[in-house]
């Protein structure tokens, strides 16, 4: 369809003009508020209080959301917001991974706060356009797009009836529509969801960047927690940000020298070492498919097993050889020399509405290769990329889609659901056509896809209530916690990682802590106190990336040579110092490693209290499905019988030779569940929480966030 025709059908609902002014030391010092119910557009000031207590990014998002919603607000209430916030460092170009945006909302999956971290050019362009956050509230009557022009100083809400909804089409349409000319397309960044985002609860947001080499809009995802579903529920089709004129000091930093020095140093390191280390420039995060398989950690057949004989068909070398042939490492923001963004060009689709089209597939990420691959028994690189493409363009999360499909396939193979219930879908492990049908049904909002799209938490209840399934068994094998589907690592043999998934704010996503190697492989954190310290430090340290606008990957997916002699190599001390130097260089502040952690602790505890205010956030919500901690079924136990039998002897003091299989499973379970409880005690203590998981008043005072509205929430639980 012609762009002119689409534009002719636009109806301007509101235009807002604002003064352009330079950023000051990383802050624009104002946020943009948009209400789609009454088409209000306002500028709001960023206060010193906000900077002191929340820093920016996710911190600003949470603070805005706290003030926007009530304790009983649901995800689809008009007052729920979507906040997109770059942090103060976001937009520097000298250091890899410095263009991230944090998106915050109340999640349709978890009914509590979700935050999702995303690349692409949207966040930097929002900042350069004059805003430290964009806050979208209310619901439009009909589909709208929001256009922020950071050069003209305008924000517009326009009805847009004719544009596509699917991300890969809409991204191109809006890029072309709002670029002044062909070259200007690099100055356009777009937020989209997709058709399945409006029919499921697992919707995501695509954030684009224009790839000048391929001349295409690339899609990066704020994947977790269903924010794309909220976006479509608000009748937003897209958000467009235009900013021309990016240079090396848009942030008007306090001192550019430490930023330049850190940037050049790590660029050299990546150039020298990445080919021997993680190969992020060659294949991105999918480099670890075969590593996870080798360590028995690759989730296979709904997390029952950790490896498979056919993993070679979906390993990194297969993707490089057959699909990612261009060998042009891409960053999702300028300056990212780690360049994990990968694309399969001219990929020919074999199913669905775009069947036969040659498309660009952004990916696969490791999580997608595992979730839409081994976990659903699909050892077929083409099929993984097909599902990757459709998840992205339909606007749904590859992790939730993979994990819930794995759950369904196990339910199907165990006879818990059948063809009658699935409407004819033969959901056996490895049946790619059934997986394709499922995702296309999600796009159309039809059939069993509509049920599957509700997520595992709701499906468990449905299967128990309507089909007589054993809820206890479903709770054991359904890999969700707090309503969010697990990401793609096997945590059974790592107690610390069980906590890394379970003792999180938003649900089982590995972005807070990934401790499997430290714990299971290298045995660096043997005691409960060691594990608790790791489950304090790493979640806090990693939270900080989201306050500033950083990506986590250049922290520990490239290792400096100095690490060989570092005291605490798992922390990557040289890189931590880089981050401190850059933060201080941008803001003119003078934080050290201790204050860095305290900045995160303020926001982390605030988020915990926010969840408590929404009726969640307590110890009961940190319980995990048993499959994350141990073998649920006989087959799982037998697959690692030697290991589990050995543990009965060494850890529990039992003699497995005199026990039945059922007894061995039961004793193992009793032991492991107790271990998780003891870990929970140790972690809560280290974090300054009660044994019910509630931040104490002393802790809040110590952090300087003993604000009356927070005390009011925690006091009810003390």
């Amino acid at each position: 369809m012609q762009i002119e025709k689409m534009l002719s059908e636009h109806k301007l609902l509101k235009e807002f003009k604002y003064d352009l002014k330079p950023i000051e030391k990383g802050y624009s010092n104002r946020t943009l508020y948009i209400n789609l119910s009454d088409n209000t557009i306002e500028s709001k000031p960023v206060t010193q209080f906000m900077k002191d207590k929340f820093v920016g990014g996710k911190g600003f998002g949470l603070y805005k959301l706290w003030n926007a919603v009530k304790p009983d607000t649901k995800w689809d209430d008009p007052e729920n917001e979507i906040i997109m916030a770059p942090g103060p460092v976001c937009g520097i170009t000298q250091y890899p991974g410095s263009g991230k945006t944090l998106v915050v909302s109340i999640s349709p999956l978890t009914d509590q706060v979700i935050d999702s971290n995303v690349g692409g050019y949207v966040g930097p362009f929002i900042k350069f356009s004059g805003w430290d956050a964009v806050e979208i509230q209310g619901k439009a009557e009909r589909d709208v797009i929001v256009i922020i022009d950071g050069n003209d100083g305008t924000v517009r809400i326009e009805e847009a009836p004719l544009e596509a909804i699917d991300g890969h089409v809409l991204g191109e349409q809006l890029t072309e529509m709002y670029a002044k000319d062909e070259d200007d397309r690099r100055n356009i960044a777009v937020v989209t969801a997709g058709t399945a985002a409006e029919n499921t609860l697992i919707g995501l947001l695509n954030f684009t960047f224009f790839d000048t080499r391929r001349k295409k809009a690339r899609l990066k995802q704020a994947g977790r927690g269903g924010i794309g579903t909220v976006f479509r529920n608000k009748n937003v089709k897209g958000v467009v940000v235009r900013f021309a004129g990016t240079n090396g000091n848009m942030n008007n930093v306090d001192d550019i020298s430490p930023i330049n020095a850190a940037g050049i140093r790590i660029h050299k390191q990546i150039d020298k070492l990445d080919d021997q280390q993680c190969r992020m420039r060659q294949i991105g995060t999918a480099n670890i498919v075969e590593v996870m398989d080798a360590y028995d950690l690759l989730p296979t057949h709904n997390y029952q097993y950790g490896s498979h004989k056919d993993t070679v068909k979906i390993n990194s070398h297969t993707f490089i050889k057959n699909y990612l042939k261009q060998n042009t490492p891409d960053g999702c923001w300028y300056g990212c020399s780690l360049s994990c963004a990968k694309a399969a060009d001219d990929f020919v689709l074999e199913s669905g509405p775009y069947k036969g089209d040659k498309v660009l597939v952004d990916g696969p990420e490791y999580e997608t290769a595992a979730g839409c691959g081994s976990n659903i028994g699909l050892f077929d690189a083409h099929a993984i990329l097909e599902l990757n493409f459709y998840c992205d363009t339909y606007g749904i999360d590859t992790i939730s889609f993979g994990t819930l499909t794995a759950f369904l396939m196990e339910c199907y193979e165990r006879g818990i659901i059948n063809k009658e219930i699935t409407g004819g879908l033969e959901l056996t492990f490895g049946n790619k056509w059934a997986a394709y049908d499922l995702i296309h049904q999600m796009s159309r909002g039809e059939g069993f896809g509509k049920i599957a799209g509700q997520g595992i938490k709701r499906m468990k209840v449905l299967f128990a209530e309507q089909y007589g399934a054993d809820i206890n068994f479903l709770n054991d094998i359904g890999m969700e916690q707090k309503g969010l589907e697990y990401s793609e690592y096997m945590s059974k043999e790592s107690l610390a990682q069980q906590g890394g998934y379970g003792l999180t704010n938003k649900g089982p996503q590995h972005d807070e802590a990934w401790l499997i190697f430290m714990d299971m492989v290298n045995n660096q954190i043997p005691t409960f106190e060691d594990k608790a310290e790791a489950l304090h430090y790493f979640p806090m340290f990693r939270t900080w990336f989201g306050l500033c606008g950083f990506c986590k990957l250049p922290w520990n997916d490239t290792t400096p040579e100095s690490n060989a002699t570092a005291d605490e190599p798992a922390k990557m001390p040289e890189h931590v110092q880089n981050y401190i130097n850059i933060f201080n260089g941008v803001t003119g502040l003078n934080i050290d490693g201790t204050e860095l952690i305290r900045q995160s602790e303020r926001v982390y505890n605030f988020q915990r209290i926010f969840n408590i205010r929404l009726g969640k956030g307590l110890r009961v919500h940190d319980a995990t499905p048993y499959r994350s901690a141990g073998p649920v079924t006989k087959e799982e136990y037998l697959s690692r019988e030697e290991r589990y039998d050995g543990q009965l002897v060494e850890l529990i003091g039992l003699d497995p030779t005199s026990m039945s299989l059922e007894e061995k499973i039961a004793e193992t379970r009793k032991y492991r569940e107790n271990q998780y409880e003891m870990l929970t005690d140790a972690v809560y203590k280290r974090r300054g929480w009660t044994m019910n998981g509630v931040p104490t008043i002393e802790k809040l005072k110590d952090l300087g966030i003993d604000l009356p509205e927070l005390l009011e929430v925690v006091k009810k639980h003390l």
Partner: protein, 124 residues
């Protein structure tokens, strides 16, 4: 393609090339702002200057680096976003950067240093 060639045995480290380059392009006599560097090495010296290999072109995301009609690698300051990847990835450490500028700089084989080198150590 005219690539600056070095006859290192003739160099006496007088610094005339560095002075000429930095004053011509950066209006200041500063070795740190010169595209050509004379560095001490193993008791002798090494002249470090771009050999126009073009690796920087491959790693530049913004397509700010291109070869001109003569094959010389040039930076388009209007497209450059100052990410410094070209500086970090330059195999000969010849892409220059200075904190006074947002855009890196490099030898473009202009030949002005050749003219001031009385020893004949530089040849185009």
């Amino acid at each position: 393609m005219k690539v600056l060639k070095v006859a290192i045995e003739k160099c006496i480290s007088c610094g005339a090339c560095e002075e000429k380059c930095s004053t011509l392009y950066k209006k200041e006599n500063s070795k740190d702002k010169s595209c050509i560097h004379i560095n001490p090495r193993n008791g002798g010296r090494l002249i470090n200057v771009c050999n126009q290999c073009g690796r920087c072109i491959d790693v530049c995301q913004t397509q700010a680096l291109k070869r001109d009609a003569s094959g010389i690698v040039r930076i388009d300051p209007k497209r450059c976003v100052g990410c410094l990847i070209c500086v970090g990835f330059c195999p000969t450490y010849s892409m220059r950067q200075h904190d006074d500028y947002l855009v890196p700089f490099k030898c473009i084989s202009c030949g002005q240093c050749v003219k001031v080198c009385e020893q004949g150590a530089l040849v185009l």
